[in-house]
């Protein structure tokens, strides 16, 4: 308790240094939070695309139901299909109506006749999509095959790139945070060099001297993290309506509060580690 009081006194007496340390931690954890949202969000988006029919075959208008059933059976017999669904012209119209219910102009112009019947196919393994797609392309009753492997792989590439950039950014920011906290705390340690020397001569253990500085580092970390997380979360909530209309149909938003709290807990843990590390390094030089 005494160490907590001492630590608080150190912080109070140098508010601008404290502010600098908190700001840099805030920046680091704002970046970590935003990065976590991107990683989490993109993984949900990829999962969504992977779980959706990945090959859609649109049939020619003259295609007979018996031919379609034969084709469906042929595909099912390969054993590589996880999901297959036939969508008739009528069903296609229902889907179209549902998707454009807010736009009567679009609804007026479309009838079941102009929409093609289709087969939606998912495979257990993304690599099997090619085979399924080839089978469909070779069928005379199929007019067009929409193959979503490209969408998923492009998305995966983007996500991986974002992940690498994010990790680099966070490592750099974390290092900068450690250096700035080391400087701030190191400055305070050197200001108190006389007091530390007297403490040691008066039987203080190294840990007694170290604790207030370590607690100070933890304080900067925890406060900076909390506000970084708060700003990122507030930004996410603010952007949720826009993102929801952009990511129509993907079950991502609104983000669960449990996920946000878990993120906060994880970040606080990292902040405590960074704080302890930075302050221990700063004090180390004086307590050899």
């Amino acid at each position: 308790m005494r160490q907590v009081k001492t630590s608080w006194k150190h912080i109070r007496r140098n508010p601008y240094q404290a502010l600098a340390a908190i700001c840099i931690m805030l920046l680091t954890f704002l970046a970590i939070s935003v990065f976590a949202f991107i990683v989490f969000g993109s993984s949900v988006v990829i999962k969504y695309f992977e779980s959706k029919p990945q090959v859609t075959a649109f049939f020619k208008d003259e295609a007979q139901q018996s031919d379609i059933d034969t084709l469906k059976n042929t595909l099912e017999q390969t054993g590589k299909i996880s999901h297959i669904r036939f969508i008739s012209k009528q069903e296609a119209l229902q889907i179209y109506k549902a998707q454009n219910k807010n736009d009567p102009l679009l609804l007026d112009l479309v009838t079941a006749d102009i929409l093609p019947a289709s087969l939606e196919i998912s495979t257990g393994n993304i690599d099997d999509l090619g085979t399924a797609s080839d089978t469909l392309k070779n069928s005379p009753i199929v007019s067009e095959v929409v193959y979503q492997k490209d969408v998923v792989s492009t998305l995966t590439q983007w996500t991986n790139a974002a992940r690498i950039i994010g990790i680099i950014l966070i490592v750099v920011l974390a290092l900068v945070s450690i250096f700035i906290m080391m400087t701030v705390i190191g400055f305070k340690v050197s200001q108190k060099r006389d007091e530390i020397e007297i403490m040691r001569l008066l039987s203080a253990t190294n840990w007694y001297i170290r604790w207030p500085f370590v607690l100070e580092g933890v304080f900067y970390g925890v406060v900076g993290t909390f506000f970084g997380w708060l700003i990122a979360s507030a930004g996410l909530f603010y952007a949720t309506p826009y993102l929801q209309s952009f990511l129509k149909g993907i079950p991502l938003l609104p983000v669960s509060p449990i996920f946000l709290l878990e993120l906060l807990a994880g970040e606080l843990l990292i902040a405590v580690i960074l704080g302890v590390l930075a302050s221990s390094l700063a004090v180390l030089r004086y307590l050899k």
């Binding site: 020397e197 001569l201 039987s203 253990t205």
Partner: protein, 232 residues
């Protein structure tokens, strides 16, 4: 109680601070350590509280082997040995009460007990009325008393006083010496480094004389005076 055997201390540049010092001090003794500035008196005290290690030789304080004491045991040693530093080392931004309380805080003593103890010591050294003043508001003699009070916080077995009368007038010097004598009578072993020949010659105590790092004289004045009288 305190035993030095062939202790030498050399510094990095090859300067010899102490050379082949050996002596034993029994529990409850009052010993003056005299010698010119730079003779090694302060180095001797610094060795005794393990602020530094001897280059060679053995130092024993009670059951402690000082030269080989593990670092983590040093705080325990320093509770047994109170030190009045030459430059006092009082914290300027703390009151006298807080300065005396400081070592007890460091030792994590329960707050009420620690405050009680500080009140007692301030009373003992005669500066209770200055408890809430800052060091800058006190006279030289009062500051010495404050430093002594802090050194007494743990009721140490040994008290090292490094030039406690250094910058004081004669009357105040005597007050400080009397205070140290009282502490000695209560059972604390006292080593006092001083230049003040008046005090050393007036009190019939043991005197260790150090010159250029060597122990040149170890005399017990009381015995010397007694033998002089016997001769007459």
């Amino acid at each position: 109680m305190i035993k030095l055997q062939n202790v030498s201390k050399k510094f990095g540049a090859g300067d010899v601070a102490l050379e082949d010092i050996s002596f034993t001090i029994e529990s409850g003794e009052f010993v003056f350590v005299v010698g010119p500035s730079g003779s090694g008196k302060t180095t001797l005290f610094r060795l005794l509280i393990r602020e530094m290690k001897p280059t060679i030789g053995e130092i024993h304080v009670g059951e402690w082997d000082i030269a080989n004491l593990p670092t983590q045991r040093i705080p325990y040693l320093r509770k047994k040995i109170g030190v009045v530093f030459q430059d006092l080392k009082l914290l300027r931004d703390r009151t006298i009460f807080e300065n005396v309380l400081f070592p007890l805080e460091v030792a994590d003593m329960e707050e009420n007990a620690a405050r009680q103890r500080v009140e007692e010591i301030l009373e003992q050294v005669g500066i209770a009325q200055h408890r809430d003043k800052f060091p800058i508001q006190l006279s030289g003699g009062e500051l010495q008393r404050a430093a002594i009070a802090r050194a007494l916080a743990f009721s140490p077995e040994i008290l090292l006083a490094d030039e406690p009368t250094g910058n004081l007038d004669n009357a105040t010097s005597w007050e400080i010496v009397k205070l140290l004598q009282d502490i000695n009578h209560a059972g604390t072993t006292i080593l006092m480094a001083t230049h003040n020949t008046d005090i050393v010659n007036s009190l019939l105590k043991r005197v260790l004389t150090i010159e250029k790092g060597k122990l040149v004289k170890d005399e017990v004045k009381e015995k010397k005076e007694r033998s002089k009288k016997e001769e007459k």
